[in-house]
């Protein structure tokens, strides 16, 4: 072992040569091989891996679409249709990208609500959670700008409405909007910059995802019980147990994805976006893509322009302080019988907002949106802080192993725990 080289345990000579100089193999082995992972994950813990795969799919399909897409108002719509008609497998790549956005939000919403239900944002994982919120905000920006690129009616009017949100800010608002547009309306300069940023942001997301995962590997994963692993009997090495469990989830995810792409590719989209953009005619009923509907409903629930904009941004920004709004000592909702009921109502309010956001801005949808918006904020700002103090949680199990194996099981017995002799977690 020469001085200055990493002490590699890899036997393959070529990999060893590399590993001594750049210990990627050792790193992978540590972070994805022997990485001690709570043994009691359910399938909701697949969604982080699924989100990463989805990001890779979006970047790959996006790069190949960019090879044929033309970011010019006169050519954008037709260039997308040319991809669909003339480019080899262009229809496949474009439909995967288009539906991939929906899949990404489905996966990430489940990932977020899993984190909320099991208290994954609580100490010591606050920063991990906040990085996740940053990823979500970046995703929203990327998805919004991507939707503008086909330059259909919904692209154009979506871009117009959303950029006009900034005009709500006093004094500088109109200046900001003109600056965002690079002109006096959404036009070619806007399309060009949106394309540039839509290409850039996924790589920024990738960087923040790296930080998100790095933070995760410091604290270790939360688990359905919300109690920290106390020793090797509480964990399993990531490989093969969770690589194979993730694989099962990945195949199921691909099956749902394939169903959308191959059999109902335009189902989640809006027909108006196959009408080329026309700055003179607003479609009768403009709605954002489904994944923005809850926030769109919050925007419309407020009769005041600036108030609506602030509340809409606030509905996501409140996630940043969630770790401090939740005063409960217990992480998992499994042990919070009262809070759990209000949590499910919160989920319901989110879906109600999603539904109401797709309806016209008239009664009774407005009042329904207002009620759901009120509950959304009530949950974060009142119920969570108060319930944490008042609620008497159920007794927590002594350890993950005790809960999984049953209290009468003898720890360390049987052939498994030897096989699973993982190093204790640094922080456990």
């Amino acid at each position: 072992m020469a001085i200055g080289l990493h002490d590699s345990q890899v036997s393959n000579p070529v990999l060893r040569w590399i590993d001594q100089r750049l210990p990627v193999v050792t790193m992978m082995q540590k972070e994805y091989g022997t990485f001690p992972t709570p043994r009691n994950f359910n399938y909701f813990w697949n969604f982080g891996a699924l989100a990463l795969i989805n990001l890779v799919i979006m970047i790959a399909t996006g790069i190949f679409l960019a090879m044929n897409y033309q970011p010019h108002t006169a050519h954008a719509f037709d260039s997308v249709e040319r991809i669909m008609r003339d480019v080899n497998f262009g229809w496949l790549i474009r439909y995967v990208h288009m539906n991939g956005a929906s899949m990404f939000f489905i996966v990430v919403y489940i990932h977020i609500y899993r984190g909320m239900y099991y208290g994954s944002y609580k100490k010591p994982r606050e920063l991990l959670w906040m990085l996740g919120v940053v990823i979500f905000l970046l995703m929203m920006a990327t998805a919004f700008m991507g939707y503008v690129l086909p330059w259909g009616q919904m692209s154009f009017w979506g871009a117009t409405v959303i950029t006009n949100l900034f005009s709500a800010f006093p004094i500088v608002g109109p200046e900001i909007v003109t600056w965002l547009w690079g002109g006096f309306s959404v036009d070619n300069p806007t399309l060009n910059r949106f394309f540039a940023l839509h290409y850039l942001l996924p790589f920024v997301i990738f960087g923040v995802v790296f930080l998100h995962v790095a933070a995760l590997h410091i604290t270790g994963s939360n688990n359905p019980l919300g109690i920290e692993p106390k020793g090797p009997q509480d964990t399993l090495p990531f490989h093969p147990y969770y690589t194979i469990k993730d694989s099962v989830g990945i195949v199921a995810y691909f099956a749902l994805f394939a169903l959308l792409v191959f059999f109902m590719p335009n189902y989640l989209g809006h027909p108006d976006n196959y009408i080329p953009a026309n700055p003179l005619v607003t479609p009768a009923h403009i709605v954002p893509e489904w994944y923005f509907l809850p926030f769109y409903a919050i925007l419309r629930a407020v009769p005041d322009k600036l108030g609506g904009v602030l509340l809409m941004f606030g509905s996501i920004l409140v996630w940043f302080v969630l770790p401090w709004l939740d005063t409960s000592k217990v992480r998992s909702m499994r042990f919070r019988p009262v809070a759990r009921i209000f949590f499910f109502l919160f989920i319901v309010s989110f879906f109600v907002l999603m539904w109401a956001g797709g309806k016209p801005a008239e009664q009774p949808y407005v009042i329904i949106s207002q009620l759901a918006t009120a509950y959304y904020f009530l949950w974060f700002l009142v119920l969570l802080p108060v319930l944490g103090k008042l609620e008497k949680p159920l007794p927590l199990p002594e350890s993950i192993a005790a809960a999984v194996l049953g209290t009468k099981a003898v720890l360390g017995g049987g052939p498994i725990p030897q096989a699973v002799a993982a190093k204790p977690m640094e922080k456990a």
């Binding site: 037709d78 147990y241 469990k245 694989s247 191959f262 999603m354």
Partner: protein
Amino acid sequence: MRVLKALALAASVFVATPALAAGEAPAAPNAGFSFNALLGTFDRGAQQRGFQVYKEVCSACHGMRLMSYRNLLDIGLSESEARAIAASFQVTDGPNDEGAMFERPARLSDRFRSPFPNDQAARAGNNGALPPDLSVITKARHDGANYVRALLIGYRDPPPGVTVMDGMHYNEYFPGHQIAMPNVLNDGQVTYADGTNATVDQMARDVTTFLAWAAEPETERRRQMGVKILVFLAILGGLAYATKRKVWADVKH
């Protein structure tokens, strides 16, 4: 199980959202098009007859700028037939060596000739109304194929008390009911080469089939590939699940 239930609930809500209100017009009746089925294909005969209807009737006002004459090979026309159809249209090319644009017979690689050089000319020639391009029309309308067919057979006398504005026509399925496009289909409007009786209903079905194919020409390939991929994923999923069971067999969790 709880996981599945939650997912099913989430899915059902997603399913409900995009079904948006269709406006004031009644929903188009389901015409039972073969291609609207999950694994459906296009009726080649209907596609070819539909192209004939488009060429002889619709194309007087409506362009299909995303279609090329070479695409006709995909609905079963032979290359010489497609060449002959292309050559019957004059398209603008150029500039030539003198710097002038000139007309020449279209080739397979040319786009369908549009009836008007630009939108302004189209409006000027149609009483101020713009006949939309039909390349992706069935994708660009809710329940597109059924809607287009219903619109074509939906011309009625206005009900009592309804005044139709000058130059407009009453159509049961058009949002607002007043449409600038007149009823263009009459029985026997075209003479089908295959001897099919050219009723209004037949022509509407045929041209809708053609337009639905033109909007999504990849449909049949897409569905075939989808079936293969789902079968592959079913096998892979079974294998992955079996492997997972084996790996986890001696771990209580």
